[in-house]
């Protein structure tokens, strides 16, 4: 194996063969011991990624060519398998350990006390319970301009309409939330609102004050959106905005 020395050093892409490129890059334990802020940590993380990528590029005998993805096998597949395994395992665990709860057979001649749609439609069902938001107009002598149920159905149009408009307001070219803090915050607000409005839909089952639940339904999305915006805005300081151009590139063989 004397010709090994003439061979170029094998490039490892698993992260194991990568050493700190210079004296200024801290080791993981040094970085953990630091007390600097989140922006500094973010900067060091991305700087290390960029440097590792650059080293690989320099050592590699591959030609650079723009490929805007990772290969499905093994990168995406291994990740997806681990995620799928987790959820399958969780389903098996819960099915094996939770008590079986099989109620009496449904009586078709009697309407149950609580009627609910499937859980993924709770958000829409919750929009039907916005009665307190339906304004009473002074010009109508305190009467409502439309029935509460009509109001709830129209609220669905507002939500669907907003989701339909978003792609026209933002093209979604950001690779990471930190690149668009405002839109990330709006997205988080939407996710949280989907959860809170779903909880409002099952207010009969919620062990809390219904008025408080109604207020939290609209306050929590704002709170979480604000927190998201603040955190991402802080992280921007250390973020390298030209990272994507380098990062999403692979090197196919010559």
């Amino acid at each position: 194996m004397s010709d090994n020395e003439s061979q170029p050093k094998e490039v490892r892409t698993d992260g194991g063969g990568i050493v700190a490129p210079d004296n200024e890059t801290p080791t993981w334990s040094e970085r953990k011991a630091r007390k600097t802020g989140l922006s500094r940590l973010t900067y060091e993380y991305f700087e290390r990624s960029r440097r590792e990528d650059q080293d690989l590029r320099t050592e590699s005998d591959y030609v650079e060519r723009d490929v805007l993805a990772f290969p499905t096998w093994p990168h995406e597949t291994v990740r997806n398998l681990s995620i799928a395994s987790f959820f399958v395992g969780m389903i098996l665990f819960l099915a094996a350990t939770m008590p079986p709860h099989i109620g009496a057979p449904a009586n078709p001649s009697q309407t149950p006390a609580i009627i609910l749609p499937d859980w993924y439609l709770y958000w829409s069902f919750g929009l039907l319970k916005l009665n307190p938001l339906n304004p009473e107009l002074a010009i109508l002598g305190g009467q409502k301009i439309m029935a509460d149920r009509t109001y709830g159905v129209l609220a669905n149009g507002v939500v669907v309409g907003f989701i339909a408009i978003v792609p026209f307001l933002n093209k979604g070219s950001a690779r990471r939330p930190v690149e668009e803090p405002l839109w990330a915050a709006i997205g988080i607000s939407g996710v949280v609102f989907a959860m809170t409005i779903s909880l409002l839909a099952v207010k009969n089952l919620m062990p809390m004050n219904v008025d408080l639940l109604f207020d939290l339904t609209f306050l929590l999305p704002i709170v979480f959106g604000t927190i998201t915006y603040a955190v991402l805005k802080t992280m921007r300081e250390g973020y390298m905005f030209d990272l994507n151009r380098r990062y999403y590139r692979l090197r196919p063989p010559k």
Partner: protein
Amino acid sequence: MADEFIKGLGILTGAGLAWMVLASWYRTSSFESTEQLIEPLQSGATEGIFNLIGITLMDAFLWFALLGTLTFWVLIPAGRQVMDALEERKNAQ
């Protein structure tokens, strides 16, 4: 900082899951109840050694989830801050 967060989160989710499973047996009369998981124990729930073990573990998991999370998310970081502040004060003098 990140280490303490994931320790607290792991304790919260792991112990919380174990508590949820046990409480679904011992403190849930119906999954449509508004007090599921926090109902008082059923009569006869303390009969037999296995039920006693289950009830003990249920409470142990609940307190572990709460106190473990509190420790790693609040107490340890706060203690570090206090130690740093004391050290700074000592150096300043």
